[in-house]
Symmetry: C3
Subunit: 412 residues, 3 copies
């Protein structure tokens, strides 16, 4: 039986934090050094702002869980980037004896962190910070493994592999949420709401993601002699896809509303769907209108997904998805994947190339989906034990479990 | 008679959004392509942050209208940039057969969008999103037309023409607000207030505008051989003008207050007046102290305007200006124009040059004012019809007209 | 006897503002000109965001003092940068006849401003804006004098001298707070609290400081031929120190909590301690794990300081430190200084060099501490007079002293 009162974090969180942090420092002592490569600094800053501030404030929307949303995101991200730097450097350590820190490795680490923050979005409010940390570390391990598998066995390009972060994170999180589902908890989530204040804070997070997404998608695009415009094309495509996405999300939000009104959750989440889809499809998109059409389609499925699939998932499959990661990252990611497939096939000169690409591209998705779902399931089972002392049903979505409120002022 | 209850947006907003968005995509299919020119990326990001986050959160200050303030700004901006890209590219389409998207065209599009957001500031809370969208598209059309007229017939430099965006937007918005004025609505605007929470969100918007304004003013300044320091001079001038402007606005806010206290509205708006004035006058300002004096004068007239002219406008002319665009953008813009005139005359070698410049400079202003006011009037008359179903008087400045609040939490 | 009611700011704030502002403009008229040196623009922007938005919103955490926190920071910063530009240019004025404004001089001015904002943190809520302005100007004067003394007599490098800004600001503020302490005020500070809303705003400030700190520490690092990687090393060291600092602060926050929970104040402040310490120690840190260990130690002493030393200071020494500047800037700064000493000694080839460096390094700290504390005491005595009309005990930490609330909406 789950404990009815939140217990002190004292014997759980600090040991985990210090154990991991000490371990990371030890690895850094022996294996990590600094390399010089300044060119990406400003786009790195944009990605950093998206991961820390964007995801952090996006997670503040729950009315009583905003300290946890922002605070745990910072905590998880601070730990996850170190882990991602280590994991991504394993190969270099094997070959060159050192893990090198440079702008590129930090950008990649922040992207892996973004993937884990997406996964966490599905279980936000129903877990404690220990669980969130472990989820992040396991998710990143899986995602790095997935990238290594795709690059090694399927010769997928690095950029295409890393842009699967949305799909990997979303399906990992969904499986996790499914395993961690608790019977009879639907009625008790009365704190799972938005109010004016937390709504605005989360819109702020949305806007930072929305504004800097062109940097996120373009930062790792490499300029080569054959196609000098790739990097800028990624910037413009993302910009246009997001603009159309914002318009479309507003339109479908009203259209599917029984009262004919806008829904803040859609504005806050589904406006970002275009950035997800174009990120995955990017390498095959050459014209601005294609990017815009992708933005339209992504916002469409994202809004419909939030409105209709999210409640269905809860009641039919007992899968509760706090931040709607299926609709915001999962489905638009798969849409982007499909568009890339179609565009590449349309671009192919002959049938053989097209079929070969299709097989290869479908394998990419299948491996990513299987790995993310299996690892999500395993992580879920590992974290289901009462040993982790998750918050009891009545205390879900509540900061008071985790934060001192000794001097909370009475509202005027 | 105006409808007494807010009606569903369903048959109004989505059709407009999808019609426009589809139209834009069609134009993009046939006419728009990407050009490569990366140099402005980081300053473009600053402008982007100002337009989306700065203007967006500046508009959150009304106590019950903050979702609409931030949300509609995003929606309007997402649509307006596309329209501005198309309109600004018409000439290139005519000559070269294509509209080219590059960093410069996006920066210009965002500046046109800023102009339309200024106009919208005058009618914020008294209109619905359909009206806001149409205002933005018409205002941008007028502003682009104005720039074309000035450049074609008066040989005004492109940078000087675009910096009139504050004047154009403000007077367009004022006329609009005058036409859309509703008898007997003064007593009913009890929701037109600031509280601690929305005040802080809007101060955040102010700070983003204040911090990144040097980029806004300098991004389009071109460095030439005759005057290599122009661009940096624009940065430093704007920086200094804004610093002085913040100090001065605080001083006059206290001085004109019956209780001898600071007024948040002044801190939030009039601190920005220096950036407006210096933006217009920039090309004639060569010394730091001149920039500082402009900042002083701009904040002075802006604060006095907010304190004394805004209520006068309401009662004497029945013109209700929600965001005080006359005081924040209109008057400081005209001040900048006057300073530019005086400095250019003082710089002239002989009387003939001075008189010629004066005539030319006065024509520039007259054309801009006439065009903005006439188009504002026309737009106002077009939108006055009940066909558009504006929010009834009692529902002005209220998010509940437009946003689903099914799960709004009861305040603790 | 202190006045029991807040009096109008009219005869105090505006005269001071206009007197100072006019004086500054006059100095600018005669002595200041613009120099061209664009290279630092983007990092300058990051520092600007930290000073205006970061410090501004960090100061919004008090439940009834958030307008003042953000507003006064803007006001003080706008004035202080001008003063710092003038003071830092005195030497150049003496030798070259002009004070030159360039990116570097603005960055230095903003860092001096940051130092004064740290000092202000110790007396926030217990002073009026006149006092804050004078504190800032005197603190900057002292800090610039300190830098000049260190560089002239001890040949301390410019970068090392300016990075003492945390230590100087913190001890200046502590002495100030000690002198300005009022008997019997402990019970009355019931407004000195955080709530959900102001907590989130201040976390936003924290995140901006946290994200952009790598730019803050690295912007003035000069790349030379002997050590080409210095600048990037400063970026990576700060990044890693902050990541570890965030993790460690969370760990010790829980560990020292009687309820075993996180404390928002620690998350909001102590996560930044790593950036302070590494900023001071930076020039001697060459390996990533050293930076991480510094981040760990800094967050440790910062969290313990906030938990145990802050209350002790209040009851044993009658020194009330609103923002905990001792724990956040003072102690981590001294830690950084100690680490630098140890690392330099360990790096020394022979004993003579080590001893010489130690003597020199200890003198640096002693001069900085003495000067900051003496000037803090003097400033405190100057501002203790009732002439300045500080807010009465009952009105401390309250916006209503300083801000018009005529149209404050009643909370729904």
């Amino acid at each position: 039986m789950a404990p009815q009162y939140a217990r002190s974090l004292r014997f759980r969180l600090p040991p985990l934090l210090f154990f991991l942090q000490t371990g990371f420092i030890v690895v850094f002592i022996f294996y990590v050094d600094i390399e010089q490569n300044p060119s990406l600094y400003y786009k790195f800053q944009d990605v950093h702002v998206m991961v820390i501030l964007g995801f952090g404030f996006l997670a503040t929307f729950l009315v009583r869980y905003s300290f946890s949303g922002a605070g745990f995101t910072l905590l998880v991200a601070a730990m996850a980037v170190q882990w991602a730097v280590i994991l991504n450097g394993v190969e270099s350590m094997y070959h060159r004896g050192k893990i090198w820190i440079n702008m590129r490795s930090l950008v990649v680490a922040e992207m892996c962190t973004a993937s884990s923050l997406i996964a966490i979005g599905a279980v936000l409010g129903k877990t404690n910070p220990d669980q969130l940390l472990l989820i992040a570390l396991l998710e990143i391990s899986g995602f790095v493994l997935n990238g290594w598998l795709l690059q090694t066995f399927l010769k997928v390009q690095f950029l295409n592999a890393i842009m699967l972060l949305h799909i990997f994170g979303a399906f990992f999180g969904l499986m996790l949420s499914w395993v961690l589902y608790r019977q009879g908890s639907e009625q008790q989530h009365e704190k799972e709401k938005i109010n004016r204040k937390t709504g605005l804070f989360s819109v702020m997070g949305t806007l930072f993601l929305w504004m800097f997404w062109p940097s996120f998608n373009s930062v790792l695009v490499e300029v080569d002699h054959l196609d000098r415009g790739r990097k800028l094309r990624a910037v413009y495509s993302t910009y246009l896809a997001l603009a159309v996405s914002a318009v479309t999300a507003a339109g479908f939000s009203v259209l599917t509303s029984p009262q004919g009104k806008l829904n803040l959750f859609h504005i806050q989440r589904c406006t970002l769907a275009g950035g997800v889809a174009i990120g995955v499809a990017m390498s095959a998109v050459h014209l601005p209108w294609v990017a815009m059409t992708i933005g339209f389609a992504a916002a469409l499925i994202s809004t419909l997904g939030s409105r209709y699939i999210k409640p269905l998932m809860l009641f039919a499959f007992e899968c509760h998805d706090t931040c709607g990661v299926l609709s915001v990252h999962g489905l638009p990611g798969i849409l982007g994947w499909m568009v890339q497939l179609l565009l590449q096939i349309a671009d192919s000169d002959d049938l053989t190339t097209a079929v070969r690409f299709a097989v290869f591209h479908i394998s990419t998705l299948l491996i990513t989906l299987s790995l993310s779902m299996i690892l999500g399931l395993i992580t879920g089972f590992l974290l289901k034990f009462n040993f982790w002392r998750p918050p009891p049903n009545k205390k879900c979505f509540d900061d008071q479990n985790f934060w001192e409120f000794p001097h909370l002022a009475v509202k005027k």
